[in-house]
Subunit: 242 residues, 2 copies
């Protein structure tokens, strides 16, 4: 059973303001919840229509609920079998070893989720986001990462100040950049990816030290741009393939 | 002004059944409509709240409508300024020169749209889709291609029969495939990408002649898979970079 107050709290966590106020977020589906449990995120409550799914969870944190109740707290169109509320972890220190990915105002939750999966795949441990980038604890981001988010450190900071301070090359993709396929790409670098509609902002562009481009092959050369997630996929692949 | 019958027809075109029955589809936003006009798709009607946007369209095809009317026919959450109904082009013959991409039951309209943009970017002229792949004239696909769809031939066919007949290598991505970074990739090939949840089906797997894999770099190696659109991005990039 889920109380009125719990319903109110959980639905409020669909908004960033309340997630920050309570320092809580929620995740759905067994797969995604298990990834957070494995990664030692602190569980607050687990609501499920099927308690046998989670044999190791302490009884005082587990609530058996009906499908109807799950529907009330879920952010999914088709609610699954369970929803878990977790504490947000403390913000970790920024480690800038190896390849770090930075996002300059990526706004779409699906894109951020896909990019986090890519970081996980390519062993990128730190993702630095501008303050205007969509919140990583947004339920749509949490679900679209498929659990990868539990293995990638995501940090929100003033991107320009961060990039000014790093002592590694800062790569950005631009139409007029050097061909990414023929550039020597270093082991330590920050790669900046830009906003869906506007690309890299002019303030961030000033602190980019290496301009690269993904070549276009179409005969007509009319495609204006790649989606930010597919451009990230190709860029990370190039940094890792050598 | 838009008539009741027109509203009925256009909203019916959100469903594949009626698109096929009428051999019509619709597109929204000036950018996307212009791409279809440029590509010589046959315009049936254009509805707009601002006629000056389209100075070259014949008067008998253009309907000045109100924002309220546009809302009634639009498939977008936030309707733009215009909506155009086009005739579906005749299905073109299957040309299998160069690199051809094939989709085995890709179901998400956003993924198909992103993949069509990738084909356009990488100069892949033919996209072969299994019969169960989401319909290319689905309004969500049309919008997410950003007009690229006017430059890529999309053909629906029985994928297994098609693949059995081609006389070029058929590439498929599998976890146990050969490292795509070190394989010699040919100029003529078919690349098959699989369904979002299940990957390549067992029937199609039987006709794959070259198994490739995108290496995974994370320490924990727990990421289960890449999203089909990002995996397509990396695969096409590898075929083109040499």
């Amino acid at each position: 059973m889920v109380s009125k107050n719990q319903i109110k709290l959980i639905t409020s966590l669909q908004q960033k303001k309340y997630r920050n106020q309570h320092q809580l977020f929620f995740a759905e589906t067994k797969k995604v919840i298990d990834e957070f449990l494995d990664a030692k995120f602190e569980l607050v409550n687990l609501f499920t229509i099927n308690e046998t799914l989670f044999p190791t969870i302490e009884a005082n944190k587990m609530y058996a609920i009906s499908e109807m109740e799950l529907k009330k707290i879920s952010a999914l169109k088709t609610p699954n079998e369970c929803l878990a509320v977790f504490k947000m972890p403390e913000t970790s220190d920024l480690v800038t070893e190896g390849v770090v990915l930075a996002l300059d105002d990526v706004r779409d939750p699906g894109n951020l989720g896909t990019i986090i999966r890519l970081c996980d795949w390519f062993g990128i441990e730190t993702l630095v986001c501008s303050m205007e980038t969509v919140d990583v604890y947004n339920p749509k981001v949490i679900q679209s990462t498929m659990g990868s988010i539990s293995r990638v450190k995501v940090i929100y900071t003033d991107l320009v100040s961060f990039l000014e301070k790093v002592n590694v090359p800062v790569y950005g993709t631009f139409m007029d950049g050097e061909n990414i396929y023929t550039e020597m790409l270093p082991e330590n670098a920050v790669i900046v990816m830009g906003n869906e509609a506007n690309g890299i902002s002019s303030e961030v562009e000033k602190v980019v030290t290496k301009r690269i481009a993904i070549p276009r092959f179409g005969k007509l050369q009319k495609t204006e741009s790649l989606n930010v997630a597919t451009a990230t996929a190709i860029t990370l692949s190039e940094f890792r393939r050598n």
